[in-house]
Amino acid sequence: MTTRVGVVVFPGSNCEHDVAEALAGLGAEAELVWHADTDLGDVDAVVLPGGFAHGDYLRPGAIARFSPIMASVGAFAAAGGPVLGICNGFQVLTEAGLLPGALQKNQGSRFLCAPADLVVASAESALTSGTAVGDVLRLPINHFEGNYTCSAEVLAELRAEERVVLRYVDNPNGSVDDIAGVCSAERNVVGLMPHPERACDPLLGSDDGRRLLGSLLAWAAGRLPV
């Protein structure tokens, strides 16, 4: 059965069609879900895509966390459903409290759109289950606020529980502990700043993103419906 993925669209989101295209290329069916809706519908996984939800006004993700759909996203995650936040979606997940930490302005205070090499730090998450620790993947980054930060206690917990899933090989933005992506304690909610959907076709320079999005679909298919 085709895996159905809900891709949440906030006003100002802009990567929703790209995520849908990449998922379709992996055989999944993406459904765009409007932020003002309250019901995710019958989906096997949820993606919060990149962009500038609500213009990033106030602070990235700070307004989007109050969108009506977020209650449903929270319930889906609490029930064990796989939820992926990419870039702005990661920022929304931290603002919503579904992932720990926060994303602050890049060290250097510049927007950065560039390829980044990432090393898999944990293969036990909804995003990395199809990879092995130590694998190096090349994905583009595209952000101004991608500098991951958290308290010393949270960092210790993330490390102890191996919840850092991806690290930068060459830290582009000042993130603590080179963190590019983290997962929840149950490992079903994952956020990362790089864009796997932009690396799903060799014509665009890399198809390493297929391994990550493929892991998400495999994770979704391998569990009972929420």
Partner: protein, 739 residues
């Protein structure tokens, strides 16, 4: 006193008299304000229009062209591309961030006004030398503005160019091009149809920002104390524009608008009069209904405000509720502000129109006169007095450097500090992004059928060439653009141009403009290419010194089948380096970067373009790229063969060992129609044969490989040194530290 008012608004006495003649009475203050913005240089092209008519506008594949908000061309498979380029020079000089940001916003509106989804931006940026702190401030602000607005509004910036020359101190150039994609049948024109239809204002509330921007800022020279003009610079809100794009595309999808026009220069006054006049109709506008951002705005302010992120849609009354529902979903404000009328008059009312109306008529003018009757000046033109002397002063006599290495290093500059701040990948179309000879995009957008075609895009300018000879220089620019798209395997389809010049009241400037138009027109005709859109920016000068003439030429090309990434401007170990193209004149240094930077020499006669020979080179290169016979390809342009080879080396970290005829002149000459190709040994014979059959000369240069850049007897530089110079050049000039 009325005389004082019209002058204060930027109208001449003759123009004020002409308005009185058109109305049959003296205009009132509001009417005068409306004519002043509409008849400004920026809106009316009154100095340039008599020359622009010489450009070729049509071709069988042009679906919409000159006079529309953007050109639209057929790219096959039932799809069309909308494209345009526009300047935002003066606002960027005063307030770099907002000037550049609103330039991006404005050109994007021009594209989706046509019904197309904007899919890519290119920016052509020109600044004064970066040892001047104000120039650095301007450049950093402009780059941040393009980044801040373009990234957030969700349109990738896929290419462009950067130049640094003294004439741009105090008057930077910020030109932004945008392209959009749509099905043919989706083309929407800015025409009011149907008497009784409603004019619905979409988007932002109207404020006092940008009042008289076109007349105060864009149509006059700069001088000291221009900070006082800052209120004439608009402020951009990319989130508002993003919602406006999505709402408008949704309205088009549902077939809910009969015509639409964006609000740019001259605001509501321009949009209402243009859309009415284009449809041969009139409009009643009730100023009371326009949502305002500030209290106490007078009608003249409301009509001429350049507040950003606004559109005017013409809607059938029965569709109004559906239109309002779409706008509510996207959180876009939508307000009925007017009604389409018969009789061709634009009436500004205080209160609602209609039978039995008691509203006060604030202005009542024939809508078309705001456009069609704007003055057209055949301003005096004169070649500069020293033209013959300058052309006779050939740089051949300049002393040959003992070592050309330092001059080559001096020219190397990686522009990625600029474009890494731009999202250049959104929509998963960018096969080749900024930094190459041309950007390459897949032809794809949400909701459109799949296509295997690709688009190639480039912007080119060279103010140094055009200062020496605006006619020949502009011809060479078009040739360069066409060659650039050939280097990525594309055939050219259409041209857009942004003509940046000085003060049109100076006869030398008008001569430059006229010459540049002829150079572009003649070369376009010879190449069979239409000019489908553009913009003229005059009064680019500071304290009386005009900028060097800077036409910026954008070329759109099409790749019939985009199945692999083209080789790009690089080298591979062991590759044979061949120079394709004419050898005659290949030692000419006139107009070269070397002559200017090494010796401050700006004389001589520019090389003449042989269109037929040029197109033969383009055809050969396009086929070599399409058939994957070359591993690297780069055109010879600014900086000559020296810079072409060095750029190929630093991009791949591979050196070369070559022999160049004619010494330093052969190395730095910028004579046209030449391409360096890096060919695997197995394909050398095939490449040579193909070129020979096409009548294109092949000059073997040497080989790629090793860890040094070697031109026998002229250059010997280590690859790591060249790479470090290349990557470090711009950050060092901007005096940046850290990451």
């Amino acid at each position: 006193m009325p005389l004082a008012l019209h002058r204060e608004l930027g109208l001449t006495d003759d123009e004020a008299e002409a308005i009185t003649g058109l109305l049959g009475r003296p205009a009132n203050d509001l009417e005068l304000a409306m004519y002043a913005v509409m008849w400004s240089e920026h809106c009316s092209y009154k100095s340039s229009r008599v020359h622009l008519g010489r450009l070729p506008f049509t071709a069988p594949w042009v679906l919409a062209g000159f006079g529309e908000n953007a050109g639209v061309v057929d790219v096959g498979d039932g799809l069309a591309v909308a494209l345009r380029i526009e300047s935002h020079n003066h606002p960027s000089a005063i307030e770099p961030y907002q000037g550049a940001a609103t330039g991006v916003g404005g050109i994007i509106r021009d594209i989706f006004t046509m019904g197309a989804r904007p899919i890519a931006l290119l920016d052509s940026l020109h600044f004064g030398p970066l040892d001047n702190p104000r120039n650095r401030w301007v450049m950093e602000g402009v780059v941040s503005g393009v980044s801040g607005y373009g990234n957030s509004v969700g349109v990738p910036t896929v290419g462009g160019e950067l130049s640094v020359r003294p004439c741009f101190t105090g008057n930077p150039l910020v030109n932004v091009a945008c392209i959009g994609l749509m099905r043919h049948e989706r083309l929407v024109l800015a025409r009011a149809e149907g008497v009784g239809n409603l004019a619905v204002l979409l988007g932002s509330s109207t404020g006092r920002d940008g009042i008289g921007g076109v007349s105060v800022l864009a149509s006059a020279e700069f001088s000291d104390g221009d900070e006082a003009k800052r209120p004439s610079v608009q402020v951009g809100d990319p989130f508002e524009e993003k919602r406006l794009i999505e709402a408008c595309l949704a309205l088009f999808d549902a077939d809910l608008v009969v015509g639409i026009q964006d609000l740019g220069g001259a605001g509501l006054c321009c949009a209402t009069s243009e859309i009415a006049a284009n449809g041969g109709l009139g409009m009643d506008v009730d100023v009371r209904t326009v949502p305002l951002r500030e209290q106490g705005m007078v009608p003249a302010e409301i009509m001429t405000s350049e507040s950003q992120e606004r559109m005017l849609a013409i809607v059938e009354p029965g569709d109004l509720d559906a239109v309002l529902a779409v706008c509510r979903r996207w959180e876009v404000q939508a307000t009925v502000v007017g009604t389409v009328t018969t009789g061709g008059r634009l009436r500004i009312l205080d209160g609602p129109a209609g039978p039995g109306s008691t509203s006060i008529v604030l202005a009542d003018v024939p809508a078309a006169t705001l456009h069609d009757d704007a003055p057209r000046y055949r301003r005096p033109l004169a070649a500069p007095a020293d033209l013959a002397a300058r052309r006779a002063d050939d740089p051949a006599h300049l002393p040959e450097p003992a070592d050309c290495g330092p001059a080559v290093l001096e020219m190397l500059a990686d522009t990625s500090w600029v474009w890494s701040q731009y999202d250049h990948q959104l929509f998963l179309n960018t096969v080749e992004g900024p930094g190459g000879d041309a950007a390459i995009l897949r032809v794809k957008a949400p909701g459109l059928p799949a296509s295997r075609r690709g688009l190639a895009l480039t912007t080119d300018s060279n103010s140094r060439w055009c200062a020496l000879d605006p006619r020949a220089g502009t011809a060479l620019l078009l040739a360069e653009g066409v060659l650039n798209v050939a280097c990525v395997g594309a055939r050219p389809l259409a041209v857009v141009n942004c003509l940046n010049f000085g003060n049109p009241e100076h006869p030398e400037v008008m001569w430059q403009l006229s010459e540049a138009v002829d150079g572009l027109a003649d070369t376009c005709r010879a190449m069979g290419l239409p000019v489908v859109g553009g913009n003229v920016s005059l009064y680019n000068s500071s304290d009386g010194a005009d900028i060097d003439p800077t036409p910026v030429i954008g070329v759109l090309g099409v790749i019939d089948e985009l199945v692999r990434r083209p080789p790009g401007a690089g080298l591979t170990e062991g590759g044979h380096l061949l120079l394709l193209g004419p050898t005659a004149g290949a030692g000419a240094l006139a107009g070269s970067r070397w002559a200017e930077t090494a010796h401050g020499h700006r004389g001589g006669a520019l090389p003449v373009l042989d269109v037929e020979a040029h197109l033969a080179v383009c055809d050969v290169v396009r086929d070599l790229v399409t058939d994957s016979l070359v591993d690297g390809v780069h055109d010879v342009s600014d900086g000559g063969l020296a810079l072409a080879l060095a750029e190929m080396a630093v991009r791949t970290g591979v050196g070369f060992d070559v022999v160049v005829e004619a010494g330093h002149a052969g190395l730095f000459s910028e004579s046209p129609s030449r391409v360096v190709v890096c060919v695997p040994r197995a394909h050398v014979a095939d490449v040579t044969r193909r070129a020979g059959e096409a009548g294109v000369a092949v000059t073997p240069l040497g080989h790629a490989g090793g860890d040094r850049l070697v031109v026998a007897g002229l250059v010997d530089v280590a690859v790591p040194e060249a790479v470090a110079t290349w990557t470090g050049s711009l950050p060092a000039k901007l005096q940046l530290t850290g990451i």
